[in-house]
Amino acid sequence: MWQATLSTILTLAIGLPGAYLLAHYNFWGKSILRAITAIPFVLPTVVVAASFTSTLGPNGWINRTLITWLDLETAPIILNHTLWAILIAHVFYNTTIILRLVGDYWTLMDPKMIKAARCLGATQFRAFLGITLPLLTPAIVSAALLVFIFNFTSFGVILILGGPIFSTLEVAIYRQTINFFDLEMAALLSVIQLICTLGLTILYARLSRKTHRPLQTNRLPSIRRQQLNWKKRISIVIVITILIIVLVVPLITLAFSSVYKFEPDRGERENISTGFTLNYYHELFVNRRNSIFFVTPIETILFSFRNAVITTLSALAIGLPATWMLTRKTRLTQLLEPILMLPLGTSAVTLGLGLLLVFSRTPFNMRTSSLLVPLAHTLVAFPFVIRSLLPSWTIINPQLRKAAAMLGANPIQIWREIDLPIIGRAILVAGAFAFTISIGEFGATILLSRPEFTTVPMAIYRYLSLPGALNYGQAMALSTILMIFCGTSIFCIEAIRPNAISEF
């Protein structure tokens, strides 16, 4: 438990300044940085683990550089399977959730609140603790809930980096189902898991009812280009540097691995054959084994992209009305809110199995339909969509809608003129989440997809399931392509910006 607390604090400590930065400043490369922060979400955990090892592992480049520079005998940084590794992994994965959910909410906060506090004699720190933090609570709690349930249920990377000691209920369920075929036990555990999720969500709903306030902002978020003094400049640079170290360096290492020869040495340890190569990329297009399941990277990317687009559209199509319903506080919606979060409490594998069982039988027989995959992705993405939309949507001052209605706007016009501009960013965030989740999802995909149609993560796993430098290199190359593809897609999604909330 304290480990979860520690990692939450660490993630907040890195995520909040980042969120503030992205919410309040314009700087060169901001959209690129934003897009990059989404990438950890899509990368297969095994690849991330590999990239962490080649960065920070005992033979990772940081350690080897330090050994060479400082003339050491052994690696100075030993992170594997320690608490640190888990914390770093948490930060790597969760920072993006904080950045997005909290950052976008933050832009809606009235900067006068802080100014007022400062004029009342509060130091910057006390103003942050007393005003900013409580006002951001809904978004932070929302993000924390996602992170927590996500970790609680399925988070492969924790398992991989942390070692099997850190197994979760999710893993237990998986084992009961798959290894022991003890479905009763698995069902029992699943129910426990669902109840826990339900409990957490109800707790959250209570908390949020207490903390949700209209932020009194009738104005739209704007980013003021400020005259920066050196103090601010330095702190901005520090925050960006930390973000880059945490989020970008492992990714760059990964990209680097894809163009660097990895021949494991056969003779002396020092004589590792090195050099740059584009072989791995080239090799992606070669069907060496003449396998019927060979797919070119372009085909897998197109398939992944198609799934992601369907997922994004359908998750938003279901998520928007659902969230709209949740913003009306009635008894029914209070009951519904936790239930809508349930897909999060179910692991992707369980979800995939369930879908498979339902859709393998008449009358729903669509086992061979390629729509099954985006359907599963939609289910996985759905809670994220709701969590992204809800905080911003709830703070819309109801007066605004009434005012618009009095001015003769019909409900659709109200939605278009009032709701949409205010939650526009949140919709983009939700869409980006759905998109990345679909691109990166693996557990359910592998059960539901047909081998001819391979998503990118599946193709990566396929390479990694065989030994050999070429396979490793191709996995890295494909991961790099996935990274670039995902980064570009998010960049484009977020470039669609409703005019009303444009930043100058």
């Binding site: 009235d110 006068k112 609140m113 100014k115 007022a116 506090a117 400062r118 004029c119 009342l120 004699g121 509060a122 130091t123 910057q124 006390r126 103003a127 007393g130 005003i131 409580p134 006002l135 609570t137 903390t211 306030r213 209209p214 932020l215 009194q216 003021r224 280009r225 005259q227 003094n229």
Partner: protein, 349 residues
């Protein structure tokens, strides 16, 4: 005493403030008056320490505040739309500043109830601020701002969003409270009635410039420019209608109309214009100004007249109500006192 010295500030290419200097004496209420976007709020923000000026400095009792952060200045700032903390109740909002002083809870309690009492909100201490009416929110915001006993109180359009009746009532209360506290105040508004009603001195700003500063009456009697005059509702400005100059008596604006004004215009004025004050004129057969009555409105002891003097010129006057009120469309004559008209600078260019 607060001294504002040579403050300039620009955002991107837009100049928000241009070399603003004035000072506020202890216990003085000074009102900054100007149209929206003239830089009033930026100036407050700079005085509060929330915004760093490009040039210039702020001094308090002769000591520069340049390196003093906002929370140590002990200046209170009440925001345009209150900026009440939505997650705290009335008590929590008012107590916030006192808590920063690390007073003990009993003392805070005492002060908060005293202040809530003063603003007439003592029964609502535990109310959620979002459930309050506009006027109540305004009172809470005022209470919150004055609670830590700031050396300087700054109010940014404090009554801006309220309806007229409430505004007048609160304005009255506000003046009483401020006077009682002997508070040094900067009061920002775009409403001249408000400014004149509350301030010892009024500073008029336009487009980042300080145009005129002085006591309300002085400003009203002697606006320095056409901007000030128009902003105060003085619209009788003669621009191109002067037909000829009559050295001893004034200027002639039509064949039959003469406006008494000192001659020649002051030398320092680049674009001198004549402002005709609406007060002091009288309906008279011997009047030097004649024209056709275009409109009349009855206000009791006075009537407002609108007179078409020539094709381009329409003037407004307020005159003592005559026994026989002339009809619209008839020709009338007005007699103006010799000091009715002054020269002012045209700064509208």
């Amino acid at each position: 005493m607060l001294e504002i010295i040579d403050i300039s500030k620009s955002y991107e290419s837009m100049e928000a403030l241009n070399q603003i200097s004035f000072s506020v004496a202890k216990g003085e209420i000074i009102s900054i008056l100007g149209p929206s976007g003239c830089g009033k709020s930026t100036l407050l923000s700079i005085v509060a320490g929330l915004t760093i000026p490009d040039t210039g400095m702020i001094r308090w009792n002769g000591i520069s505040l340049t390196s003093v952060p906002p929370h140590l200045r002990n200046f209170g700032l009440m925001f345009q739309d209150n900026a009440l903390f939505p997650h705290r109740n009335v008590y929590g909002n008012v107590a916030f500043g006192l808590k920063q002083l690390r007073l003990d809870p009993a003392a805070i309690d005492k002060q908060v109830s005293a202040i809530l009492n003063m603003v007439g909100m003592k029964d609502l201490a535990n109310r959620d601020v979002l459930s309050l009416s506009g006027g109540e929110q305004q009172r809470v915001a005022l209470a919150r701002t004055i609670a830590p006993k700031p050396r300087l109180l700054m109010l940014d359009e404090p009554l801006g969003s309220l309806d007229r009746n409430l505004r007048e009532q609160l304005l009255h209360e506000l003046r009483q409270i401020l006077t009682k506290l002997e508070q040094t105040v900067i009061y920002v508004t775009h409403d001249q009635d408000e400014a004149f009603a509350i301030a010892d001195r009024v500073a008029i700003m336009n487009a980042g410039q300080l145009i005129q500063i002085g006591r309300p009456r002085d400003i009203y009697e002697h606006p320095v420019s056409t901007f000030v005059a128009r902003f105060l509702g003085l619209t009788n400005i003669l621009e191109k209608s002067i037909v000829s100059v009559d050295k001893s008596n004034g200027v002639r604006i039509s064949e039959k109309s003469l406006i008494p004004v000192s001659q020649p215009p002051p030398k320092h004025m680049k674009n001198p214009r004549i402002l005709v004050r609406p007060r002091g004129a009288q309906l008279s057969e011997h009047g030097t100004l004649s024209g056709i009555l275009a409109g009349i409105s009855f206000r009791g002891a006075l009537v407002d007249l609108k007179i078409i003097v020539s094709n381009e010129l329409q003037l407004k006057f307020e005159v003592p109500t005559p026994s026989l009120i002339p009809k619209v469309g008839t020709k009338i004559k007005l007699e103006l006192p010799s000091d009715a008209s002054i020269w002012i600078e045209d700064d509208s260019l």
